[in-house]
Amino acid sequence: MEKGKKTYWKGLEQLTNDPAFVQIERNEFPEKLPLKDEEFGASRRDFLKMMGFSVAAASLAACETPIRKAIPYLNKPIEIDPGVPGYYASSYINGSDYCSIVVKTREGRPIKIEGNKLSAVSGGGTSAQVEASILSLYDKERLQNPTKNGSPITWNDLDKEVMALLSSISAAGGQIRIVSNSIYSPSTLAAIEAFKAKYPGTEVVTYDPVSNYGITKANETSFGVAVVPSYDFSKVKTVVSFDADFLGTWINPILFSKEFTKTRKLGSGKKDMSRLYSFESNMSLTGANADYRIAVKPSQQGALIVSLYNVIASKAVVPTIGGSSSTNDAISKAASDLWNSRGNSLVVSGSNDPGIQTIVNGINSLLANYGSTIDLGKSVNFRSGNDEQMEKFITDLSSGSIGAVIYYNCNPVYDYPKGTAIAANISKTSLSVSTSDRSDETTSVVAYQAPDSHFLESWNDAEPIAGQLSLSQPTISNLFNNRQAQESFLMWSGNEFTYYDFLKANWEATHFANQSVETELQTFWDKTLYDGVFVPAVSVEEKSYEFTADLNATAQNIKGSGSGLELVIYQSIAIGSGNQANNPWLQEMPDPVTKACWENYLTVSQAHAVELGIVMSEGNTQKVDLTINGTTISVPVVVQPGQAQGTIGLALGYGRKKAGVVADDLGLDANPFVEVKSGIRNYNITSGVSIAATGEPYRVAHTQTHHTHMDRHSVIQESTLAEYKENPAAGRHFPKISTSTGKKQPYEVSLWEGHTYTNHHWAMTIDMNSCTGCGTCTIACQAENNVPVVGKEEVLNRREMSWIRIDRYYSSDAEHGDLKALEKASENPEVTFQPMMCQHCNNAPCEAVCPVAATNHSTEGLNQMAYNRCIGTRYCANNCPYKVRRFNWFKYHDNRDFPENLSMNNDLGKMVLNPDVTVRARGVMEKCTMCVQRIQYGKLEAKKEKRRVKDGEVVTACAKACPTNAITFGDLLDSESKVSKSLRIEREDNHMRWKEERAYHVLEEIGVKPNVWYFTKIRNKEA
């Protein structure tokens, strides 16, 4: 120090060099930082959270008036902690689909939907449509006011006018119809009863957008109960499916996927799995997951089912039945498997022909599956639509004998085959009302639009399956001037209380009264609301059912196979019946099998495509003229390996005209082609179908354009059950690197010791045996991580932004090494699904090449991206062997060029964004972060309790959403974690090894040492 310069001390402690002072002075913050401790109200962290919240609050407020100021709460609502998510159990009730859900809200905005594990109806799983429905809430195409012929009207005026008309119609003895999809809410039914009491001419007509009425009808003939029964796939050893896509779209795929894959899990002593036979025409998700897939024409189905019955009947020593039958090896093999696992088997058919379903019932009954895998007592109420009623309604409507019609949250003008007749004859009624919450083909033809609230804004209850109840609660107040339809019914019937009071009173009178666990209504109510589900003590009385159908007579009506081209109309996994068509997440979600998105198309077999002169590459294809019973439309073709010869497939849900900016005019409407045969909808058009090549070029957007795995064993490793039983490492591929000291495993050849992790080491395992490829994880990821939608044109440019994708590979008949031939899939290929996301390599090639170190490795094994630092050289993406990095080619938010990107291009849509995840700027790279925001949140929560994170507390969005639990996430340094256990991790002087024979790293040979393991795919087939 210079002479004469004064020295100042901070205090006497510094002068005396007090050890305590010296200790404290070393710290950046001498005093302890006030984290969220009880004694400190608000803190720095809370302040930041508050700021984040304020921005969100401003956007929420912007729905009414564009206020752009951040205004903090003066008095904070007690249930909202800024920055702390709230979770509410509720129910997804949409069309004829149901799922019990938990809604995550941030600062009063629902931002994510997850499955409710307590539910026996959906088993804690979700589907892509359920996950995506959160965005539909914030769709500005929803109706924002009650309207009369399109112009806004007040609720008061609407009520007055509607009630006046209803009263006059009712007084004149006129007929009133409430048309709806299946209604399975007991309280809604009670509200409708009240309405009926006021207006005696009222009848309820229910239909489902996709009909299962054939099953209902068959059960009526077979057992005297007109229901769709519950199927229990968790007990099955053998399943034979005739065109029933139970993993994708058939009745309750969320639960079926969960239960079915339970029977397919291997390891930890379990060395057996179920076997699935699939006889189908289109390549469905179920067929793609089948051990044996037999491509058949729809017209062959009946005969095959008859012969299956006969083979089993001869085993059971009961009389066989006549009718046309056709047998093959697969049928006799399936029959003996079914017979050997009787009582633990299932035969299901997707046909809507009651005759076929009756014979299927006969088979299941021979196999003693009733009471075991099929429960007629637990009827599936969300598929209780009655096609015959609907047909009668249309006849009545056309004859002008109906005075008033109320469309309760349904859109028959679009999704019923005779929609045009409904639209044309609506003028014959004196009153027509729709309660849909969004404008659609039906609301645009009715006189009054009385928009319901979105299900996330509603109180409701549901009994999706007899004896399984659940509640819905609003997670946000009405965004628009909407009113719950039930309240409208109550209002019109003269009851002026809210639906909430009605609902609660209804529960008090029924379920509260019939239970004895809780004595206080409020406690009972709160607990049920908290759980979201409720199972009454005596839910369904056990009954035995006698199979009484005359099978011989039924079989006589089954026709043999036709010779012409046959059209199979199906539902796509993403769009389904099309009621969420205006949801861009679903539009851009590639179909799990075709990998195409943004429209529907005709699926055509490879051989047929050759005949038509169509070669598909990079989405380049042609349009053909499809003629169905005289109507010709021009439709693009997608070549589909596995499509049965002589059949073509077309998806429902597209060709919307009044759905909104996203969905309008995407693809073609297949509904008018659905036949109505003796009052029941039939989706298999077996005559009058022809197609003609036009040569008109067209491009269909695909996210994957190369379809075989080219025999690359380091990518797809698979085996058969028999081989697996002998050797758990069956199907594994062990690459070796030649060195001067002999051949070595790739991981032994390294100049570098690698990272050491001391706190956590996050990792993921993916069981390819459990993954059905349904794609739920991809939408969950999109919602969680603010992944933008880019639109068809950009998907064609191969620039979709998905952080997690599901690679779908077909097998090829070619010899190993014949590279050209390996590019072509088999005519009826085996299918493998492989979810692919950032592998969080420990020797990450991307990290080494970034010039500015924007992508780097965390101390917990994550490969992380600092978006702010990224300059966008794309070198990392080029050097990524898994090609999982996604570049922001354009500015996707606030950009008029991307109107489809709803979640980022208007203030309302932006409410869905997860405030914990940055919306990425143009020119930066992004990719899977293993939901680092969830990891941080879990760590902070644990830190507050002064403990380590427990396994299961941090779950990535994809793992949480997966209905089949194929994805497991956890900490490898926690020896008790599920990942550690499933991999059977062993440690030896800082080196980690995994003992699980099925677990492998994709591309092990390049030595990047990923933190994601895949478990070999095992097929239960004979070699």
């Binding site: 590459s617 990079e618 994957q704 354009t705 190369h706 379809h707 075989t708 795995h709 080219m710 690359r712 990518v715 030649s738 950009e794 440019n797 191969r798 620039r799 979709e800 994708r805 690679d807 779908r808 590979y809 590279l819 050209k820 692919m836 090639p845 080494a848 090449v849 970034c850 010039p851 500015v852 170190a853 630092r869 990224c870 300059i871 966008g872 050289t873 794309r874 070198y875 993406a877 080029n878 050097n879 062997p881 898994y882 090609k883 990095r885 996604r886 570049f887 922001n888 080619w889 354009f890 500015k891 143009r922 020119g923 930066v924 790279m925 994709v1002 591309l1003 040979e1005 390049i1006 990047v1008």
Partner: protein
Amino acid sequence: MHATAAVREALVTNGKTVHDVTVDICSRVEEKPSKLWLASIAFALGLLTVGAYALYLLLWNGIGMWGLNKTVGWAWDITNFVWWVGIGHAGTLISAILLLFRQKWRMSINRAAEAMTIFAVICAAMFPIFHMGRPWLGFYWALPLPNTFGSLWVNFSSPLLWDVFAISTYFSVSLVFWYLGLIPDFAVIRDRATNKVSKAVYGALSFGWDGAARTWSRYESVALILAGLATPLVLSVHTIVSMDFATSVIPGWHTTIFPPYFVAGAIFSGFAMVLTLLIVTRKVYKLEDYITINHIELMNIIIIITGSIVGIAYITEFFIAWYSGVPAEQYAFINRATGPYWWAYASMMTCNVISPQLFWFKKIRTNIASTFVLSIVVNIGMWFERFVIIVTSLHRDYLPSSWAMFYPTFVDVGVYLFSFGFFLFAFLLFAKFFPVINMAEVKSIIKSSSEKVSD
């Protein structure tokens, strides 16, 4: 035995004197711009305008204006970058390495070759900047600048960063070397200048050159030192550029042969570009006596040699792919030759390996027209070489699910045209306002290697 070396052909023909040299070269600078020159510069500016529009679209909207996708993250951008860097190799090689080897024939071509180098390197350097997603930040974030963020620093293990150093070093040394050589010639123009502006401008440019013996001595020493410094750079620049690919894990990129193969390719394309430009300059400026058939033949011989090295490298890659036993690597090479981009591979093989072999025929290598055509063919081939390496390796790498095609857009082509426009524009300005031949050096061989003397 007594061996007698064959009499070397004269490097300057037609009995040019020292004064002739001055007049022949300086008059080009002094005369009014010709109509041909004006037309050419208008064409160059036209290219630049079209290119600038494409560049505007790119910078305003984003990299999505190019045809790149999730699988192919680099295509024309880095192809153009490597291509221009490669072209930029000839100048320094001619002036530095040939100087060290005392190859006097370099003297009449080194000036233009070096100018071409400078412009080519500038063109090359555009692409790493324009190809960034956020060039407004990237252009300086890629430099190891001190900052207030503590440990936030560039990543020294990234080959892209090595590129930054390699290119900037090469550019600065080449520029200094080139300028140093220009100083005595600028002084000549200055001394001959008749109007004030020229006098002032060339006076400033010539840094007060006085032509004293001591000045000449220093000039030569510095030239030699710079030649020594520049020589390793000739080899290092393209070695480092090749490491962008060689250090990656992508099959077709991950190849140890890349450094020598890239350097040979660079010299190959550089010489071809020198030939293309000089054949035109020679004709227009009537410099046949300085740039003789002999020069052209010598350059063509270098093209045969480097072209053959490149050809052997291509074949070696195939052999190693087979020998390695790595399926992805084998596929990458089979896909190059027979996959969807087979035509790019075929163009590369035809232009780079087969066509230069024609120069084994003396008639072809001493024919101006055929040399001109082949020199362009070689550079087309070299562009395809980089395209093949970058695009066909990326478009089908490890996971077949991600295989994709790359289709260029107007903006891809436009930005390439922009670099062309700039290059032509700069070269035309050079040809008009700078002495295109190093007068000082050529004058030094008039006595020893001019026809008059040898007569």
